[in-house]
Amino acid sequence: MAQVEFNQQVFALEEGLTLLSALDRHGLNLPRGCQAGVCQGCLVQITEGDIPPRAQEGLTAEQKNQGLVMACMCAVSGPLRAQTPGAGAHKRYACEVVRQRWLKGDILQLCVSKPGLNTGAEAFDFRAGQFVRLLPDAQPDSAGRCYSLASLPAETHLEFHIRILPNGIMSNHLAALPVGAPLWLQGPMGRCFYQAQSLEQPLLLAAIGTGMAPIFGVARAAVQAGHRGPIYCVMGAKEESGLYPLPGLHQVACATNIHLVYIVQQAGAYSDTYEVGDIYQKIRTLLPSMKGAQAYICGAPSFVQTLKKQCYLAGARLDEIFSDAFLPS
C-alpha cells in the first residue's frame, strides 16, 4: 500500500494500479477519456513524489514542469501528493506599491516590490510574459483580477500595465493606492513565455490591447537570451488610442533581428507613427510560412483564436504556438 494524498484527502492505495483506477476503488471517480494515455482527459497535478515517464508521454514541456500527469498512465509505486490541476496550485505572496505612473490616458504603470527580494519571505519566481492575480486584501476568498507581468525576472520590482476602466473596481482601487500600500499576488500563471527550441528559430510575437505588456516581456527575454533568429513583434489596436509607449523599448529596439510593427485598424491623428491596416494580413505578409517558427499570442479571446488557427494553417506546429487570452475585467 502507498500513502497518497489527493486534494488534501489521504488514501492508502494499492501499488501497481494506476492512480485513476486506484482512486476509483475509493469511490473517487476522476474525469477521464481514452484511458490509454492519449487524450489527456484525466490530467492531475503531482506536487510530491516520483512521476513515471509514461504518465507524461506526449505532454508539453510546460505541463511536465507543472507536474501534470495522465492519471490513467500513472502507476502508483510509492507515496504521492496530488491534486486537481490548478486547485490551490498558486501560492500567495505579499508585496507593496513602489511606484505608479501614467503611460498614456487610461493606462497606468504599476510597480510593486518583488516578494522575497531583500527580505526573508519566500521568493516569487516567474517567466517574462506570465500573469498573476492581484488581490486587494489577504482574505481567503478575495477575488482580485489577473494582470500580466511586464517586467523581467532579473528586475528589482514587478511591473504591470493596467487599463483603468470607468467602472473597474479593481483597476480603480489599484490606481488610488498610495506608495507603500500592501497588496497580494497569486501566481504565476500563463504559458506565453520565451521557450525557443533554438536561438535561430524565427519568432512571431503578436498582441492587441494590454496583451502588449506580456508580449513585449517575451521580446525582451528573447533579446536577453541572445536570440539570433528574426523576431517579428507585432502590436495591434483598433484605434491609435489603443497603443501606448512601452517602457524599456530602447533595450530591444537596438537589436538588429527585431522587427517591431505597430498596426492600427483605423488611421488617427498620428498615423505617421504606425501602420494602418489589418493585423492578420500584416502577419501573413511578414511571415508567409510559419514552418519551423514559434508564435506567442496575447490579447482578446477572438484575436487569440483566429491568429492561432492562422499560424497553424501557415505551418506552425500546435505545440509551438503559445497563447494567453484575456477578458476585459
Partner: protein, 117 residues
Amino acid sequence: MSLFERIGGTAAVDAAVDIFYRKVLSDERISHFFDRIDMEQQAAKQKAFLTMVFGGPNHYTGQDMRKAHAGMQLTQVHFDAVVEHLAATLTELNVAASDIAEIATLAGSLKADVLNQ
C-alpha cells in the same frame, strides 16, 4: 511487429496529427465543423483517433465514434474527405503503401458509426 509499432508508435502519431489536422482545417468541405472548437482539445481527440486507426493502445469503440459524431449530419462526402487526408498524411510521412491500405480499411470500418447509419 504490430502496425502501430511499424509506423513508429506514439512519436509517429504526434507527427501525423500535426499534418492531418492542418489538412482537415484547410479543407472547405469539412473545416466548418471545427470553427467553434478549441484547437488543443481537438488535436488531443485527433491523436486518440489516429492511435485507434494505427492499431495502437486505445479504449475507443465504435459507440464512442457514433456518440462523438451524432447530430452533425455527416455524409459520404465528409467521410471520404477525412479518409483522403489520412492517406495523404501517411504518404507524406513515408508510410508503406501496404500499411496505408491496412489503416484505410480500419478507418473504413468506422463509417457506419461516424455517419450514424
